[in-house]
């Protein structure tokens, strides 16, 4: 009498679904041939890590892969490596879930130029996230207002001077010169302007 069972849209799926309930209530004592064959088939088709990867439907034009030899796969293969991580590192981020990934490790070898390029041109991506993480590990901070990365340079002064250290700030000019420039004397650091990463 249930309306669902009257609805033709649920046929014939509902019948098959009911069959599985029967099996749940009374599982077969020993595995029948049909079940064994289905299980084998499931094993053969077992989803792998590529199947489980995050879906990407739209590709940012700049992030399309460069033309490569036809003998190379189109898919980027991020190979799993379980090499131990050096745990004697300073930054807490170096012990997070990304530290052991191949991308996280590769980023640690990129120079600043590359990191800034990824950050500004791969908006909204995992790669941008990892570049931001790596920049943070290296001491850079992101200003939410002008969208620039800043770096605080602390220079130890020789003993006997009035101050023990001299602080100067640099920022990366992504809009014009694509260079790190010194901040002018008028620069004031306001913590609330900076993203807490």
């Amino acid at each position: 009498e249930y309306s669902a069972l009257q609805n033709p849209l649920f046929q014939p799926g509902l019948d098959y679904w009911l069959e599985t309930k029967r099996t749940l209530l009374q599982p077969h004592e020993t595995m029948p041939a049909e079940m064994a064959s289905q299980l084998e088939s499931s094993l053969l088709n077992c989803p792998d890590s590529l199947d489980a990867d995050t879906p990407k439907l739209y590709y940012n034009s700049l992030s399309l892969p460069h033309p490569t030899s036809i003998f190379f796969p189109n898919e980027t293969i991020r190979l799993v490596s379980n090499d131990p991580v050096d745990l004697a590192k300073n930054h807490q981020k170096q012990n997070d879930i990304y530290s052991r990934t191949s991308m996280g490790r590769i980023m640690s070898r990129f120079d600043l130029d590359t990191l800034f390029f990824i950050f500004y041109h791969y908006q909204g991506t995992y790669e941008q996230f990892l570049a931001a993480r790596e920049l943070t590990i290296r001491g850079w901070q992101f200003n939410k207002i002008n969208r620039c990365w800043f770096y605080k340079e602390v220079e130890k002064l020789p003993p006997g001077m009035e101050q023990s250290e001299e602080i100067s700030w640099r920022y990366f000019d992504y809009q014009k010169s694509w260079l790190a420039r010194r901040c002018g004397a008028e620069f004031v650091y306001r913590e609330e302007e900076f993203e807490r990463i």
Partner: protein, 512 residues
Amino acid sequence: TNQEKMFLVFTEWVKLLQRVPENDIKVTVFIRQMMDKGVINSTDNMIQFTKAAIELSVGSFKESDPTSEVFIATDAFSKLIVKLLVLQDFTALSRSEYLRLMISVITMVFSEDQGMADNSFNERPYFRLISSLLCQWEDVSGHNFIKIQDQQFRNELIEFTPEFYNIIASFLHAFQPIAYPGFSFAWITLISHRMFLPKMLSLPGKVGWSKLILLFTDLLKFMAQYTKKNDVPDAVSVVYKGALRVFLAVANDAPEFLVENHYELLNNLPHVYMQLRNVILSAIPKRMVLPNPYDPQLSIGDVESCQHVPNVFYDPVQDLKNLKKPVDNYLRIPSASLLRVISTGIFKADQQKDSGIGYDSVSVDTKLINAIVLHVGIEAALEKDKTTATAIFNTKSSYYALLASMLSEGTTEVRFHVVQAIVNQLRYPNAHTLWFNYVLKNLFLSEEWGPSFAEIQEIIIRTLLERVVTNKPHCWGIIVTFTELLKSSECSIMTLPFVKDVPEVEHIIKHL
């Protein structure tokens, strides 16, 4: 036809998502038009559209060149589901009902696909749909849905999130291997998915734990059902390997889940999976440092953490059935008549096949025995907090007496399962481990057994031994207890008949 129109709309959606970023205004407009033009404005239309979308997704997978992008339609469909949950105003129908409806329709198509005799069923597009749904939900829900500008919507979505995961969990429960063997490997991959399992483990208030236990139980039941002593199908061996890796990962990331749920997990774990049992029982709360169990100076009573009562997520009292009253009454005032009720009440109506080590069937309700033993331990720990330690570290206490009496009155089979249940509580240093260590030592050395003495001692030694001869891990409480018995001057294990008479056993005991 209506169905053809649905196919067209969905195809347009798939194309759109490949041409613009997903947060482009055109995407929102497309969905708005779907609603305005009546594509999904009624339940029947919703059902028909969902059916069209899943059929196209699966069909497109099956027809695609395997080296190309085979999941484009599937990924677009999961994105649509997320968008529909996030963008719509839910008045007539709740988000939960809406999601359940869509997944129910998917279930019908899935059931039909796998039920058809032509063997063209492939689990991968269905796996991908749920996998992508989980990934895309994670993406939109980041930092408490901070990307959603409307505060009210944000609050609704935050509130809905545990429901989202529990609905997925409910459907995974329906797709379990015993019901859909053709989906088994995809299923195991889904319950351990990086966007599902850690989330379910860490939902505030442990609200994901019950469903997770249900899913792990489904897995263990499947393994139990098809693990026969002399014949384990290769595919089931592979299932076991995967299950072991998943449990090891859980023990690493969230040991407290195994610690607090050991009772339910062990109720469904086949006896032959000894190492997996040890993995579950060896789980230690994070940051706890274990005293060396092999330290000859170690005295278990002096270990500070043995004063702490472990949390038990599911209260076994719920499984006592009609023995709850007799057990609780006995703990208050022991009596022979109550004991008789309990001793007879633990038997099943019929024998049941079981692939145990050394036995093929059980006539006792092992789950009930496990419940009784753990319940007594929990009550004993509570009693100690209310009164004093001497109330429970006392062979005259009702707590000890109940377990001892079940052994003395019981058949060999009863004794075996009671001892197994006791030894299951010898885990990391905690109040239960401490009390059951006391119980087991006294049971072993008691002079009250009479002719049953040898059998009970043998069962105790066998139970401890089988858990230490396996490859690691070994439970701290078992090593400590076994070491104490081996060193005991009151009874030299080496002189016991079942050790002396079996050279292999004598050899192992000597070695230990």
